[in-house]
């Protein structure tokens, strides 16, 4: 009786530990994301402090186009939604649906990055480069750091495609996908702050 109980305890304990490894990884990644928040907080603080330091050069109001920013926002917002759908299919172990939604997410993310690069090109062309004034240095530092994160997310997604092709929907791949999902939604949250603080408040 005692032995059986003891065995059951060990068994439960073992299963518990096994199950929690993936959970620990996701939680660890969550802590990384929290520290990434600090990076963006410093960039936002810098931007806020320098938000009117144009040094007599071209201002933000003259360049920002809200329709363009609305397009970028829509792309990123929908990509967050499509990633959620991919996650649902992954949890149901349905490979085809997951890959389809993940491909849509990838294309939306890539389009966002394309629009942002075009915007940077357009701004530089109009005379607003990172060297122009303190404001534009802070602008490019903040917006491009977000863009770099999106770029990293896209590369990560490509690597995951290879993983899924090789191993299918395994426990490890699900943990990897969960981490990328956290990362992708986090980038969307940061973008909400960017379009609010930089673009909307910038044209007021």
């Amino acid at each position: 009786m005692t032995t059986a109980h003891h065995d059951a305890l060990i068994d439960t304990h073992h299963e518990h530990e096994h199950h929690d490894t993936g959970g620990d990884t996701v939680f660890g990644f969550w802590i990384y994301i929290m520290s990434d928040c600090l990076l963006f907080a410093t960039l936002f603080a810098t931007y806020a402090v320098l938000s009117s330091s144009f040094a007599g050069q071209i201002t933000a109001k003259e360049l920002f186009d809200l329709n363009f920013v609305l397009g970028e926002t829509a792309l990123l917002l929908f990509s967050s939604f499509t990633f959620g759908m991919a996650m649902l299919y992954a949890n149901k172990k349905q490979m085809k649906g997951m890959i389809a939604w993940l491909c849509i997410t990838f294309l939306l993310g890539l389009s966002f990055l394309g629009m942002e690069l075009y915007e940077f090109y357009h701004f530089s062309h109009e005379g607003a480069t990172p060297q122009t004034s303190a404001y534009w240095s802070a602008f490019y530092a903040l917006v491009a750091t977000h863009g770099l994160h999106v770029f990293a997310g896209l590369i990560w997604m490509l690597v995951l495609f290879a993983h899924f092709k090789r191993d299918g929907i395994s426990e490890e791949n699900l943990v990897r996908l969960s981490c990328l999902s956290l990362f992708w939604h986090f980038l969307d949250v940061i973008w909400i702050c960017v379009f609010t603080v930089v673009y909307l408040m910038g044209v007021m």
């Binding site: 518990h16 929290m34 759908m85 956290l182 909400i192 609010t196």
Partner: protein, 117 residues
Amino acid sequence: MSNHDQTLDIQHSHGGAAHGSVKEYVTGLIFSIVLTALPFAALMFDLFSAPITLIVILLCAIAQIFVQLIFFLHMNSSSEQLWNTTSAVFIVLIVAILVVGSIWIIEHLNHNMLMGH
């Protein structure tokens, strides 16, 4: 008793990575679209006076962040997410000190250096 607790743990623990449902994601998407469209419309069509517009923009942004956290990241106050939520609250505090503190200090510095005004 402890055995019972562990069994419960097995069923629920996912390191804070809950699964969600289609309904949850669609609700989140609709909320996000509304909360994005409102501030853009307020500025593009000059719906409100300047101070009210600023308040609308900031409130929409904060509301949308919560929508994303709840519907897309599935944050809640359940016990298995205790440490996710605790670390998030801690970071919000640090970020607030960092951002508000920087703006406050530099405003005073600019004032004392007779820059701007």
